[in-house]
Symmetry: C2
Subunit: 230 residues, 2 copies
Amino acid sequence: MAGKGSGAQSKRPQQTDMSIQPAAERGEPSLSLERIVATAVELLDAEGIGGLKMRRLADRLGAGAMSLYWHVANKEELVDLALNAVFEYRGSSATGKAEDWRQEAIHMLEDWRASMLRHPWSASLLPQRALGANILGRLELLSKTLARAGVADADLNAAIWSLWNYVIGATITRASFDLSEEDRTAGHQRLTRLSEHYPTIERSRLLLDNDWDGVFRKGLDFLLDGLVQK
Amino acid sequence: MAGKGSGAQSKRPQQTDMSIQPAAERGEPSLSLERIVATAVELLDAEGIGGLKMRRLADRLGAGAMSLYWHVANKEELVDLALNAVFEYRGSSATGKAEDWRQEAIHMLEDWRASMLRHPWSASLLPQRALGANILGRLELLSKTLARAGVADADLNAAIWSLWNYVIGATITRASFDLSEEDRTAGHQRLTRLSEHYPTIERSRLLLDNDWDGVFRKGLDFLLDGLVQK
DNA sequence: CGATTTTATCGTACAACGTACGAGTCAGTT
DNA sequence: AACTGACTCGTACGTTGTACGATAAAATCG
């Protein structure tokens, strides 16, 4: 997916094989990539992408602003790491049995949606950033699950992308309604005022109340049905 | 949808009813909202959201940077206007006959997708911005078309959102692959390297070549089928 | 052991950006 | 001639990301 090419790397020696952490062990390392990313996620959760400033993040970590740049090449990389962190997936209680494919797919996709809704900034950032490892992991899993379900090789990519597109689209839509919670009532009024000129929309209250979860699940079932029967 | 509430307004007297333009008429107005927005779209098309700077836009217009602020409250509003401009829809050669509902829906949705792909920044910006009038117009049209197709009132919102979600998701995915064209080969290599650890993905070349248009149309047909039969 | 390298932190400074402020120009009206 | 409103723009400020060393502490080596 998009994003600025391959992306820079931090100055810190790349930890290719995970074994020893060079400097930690005894004294408190005070700063660590994990802590930085975790705190960045906190900030993003609290105030959205606009609230993530390097100085503020450093403050909250009790460090100098430039100290972050030992662990992270630049802000862009930091955001990528935060995004990736949010998309981790531990997996379902996967039996691996062929007939369970459907509930495993649903589990993963609903978990994914839930992750994005817990961190609404992630949904709106995803389109502009590169595909992270955890996303690829989910795609890989989905791919295997669908293959087990009997989707033909020739249809596999189309099936995966259909599901991906659906989940992304549904979640972005849903999340962006949540995002405007800064002043829920003002946004509400704005929508009400705007939709006055659109009678059908107004009558159906399309923009106002929706059973988002129900709509999501309905569409998902629908897609899954179609993908295996075709 | 999201966005920062109601949004500020420019200093220029709001042109509520479209009749007279106060200052134009004879001498060249040199700057106008239309020209500003159109040029902003040019800049966005050429270099993406990162390339749109107020100073640069003013330069290209042969004006001082601060002159823009007479016509536009701030950059955010400008981006909203550019977004809205890009989503204009002139309508199909709509017959209004009930049996043509399907091709009219398809026409609008594919036109919408095409608009976003002509301006890839629009797809990735949409999730973070407010719903503009032209988007609402499309939703209104879609709503009427589906009603004509016989979709029950109770299912109407779910149907609209399903289609919307699908189009948004599919287009964002597609556009974000295009976005990484700054160095197409570098991105390509990155994806190839990354997907090494994901055998199923690699084997199916999920990330590399896809008949995007075909996949989009397939899923769309699929959704439309389901929405009316249910 | 002392010398040297690696790991990590951070203060200062700078360039780029959005935009507040207010001064300016020009046309039309009274 | 005085005034008003539409429009333009130069200067300047605050906020950002981050380049560039200057540190110090720990690890390694002779």
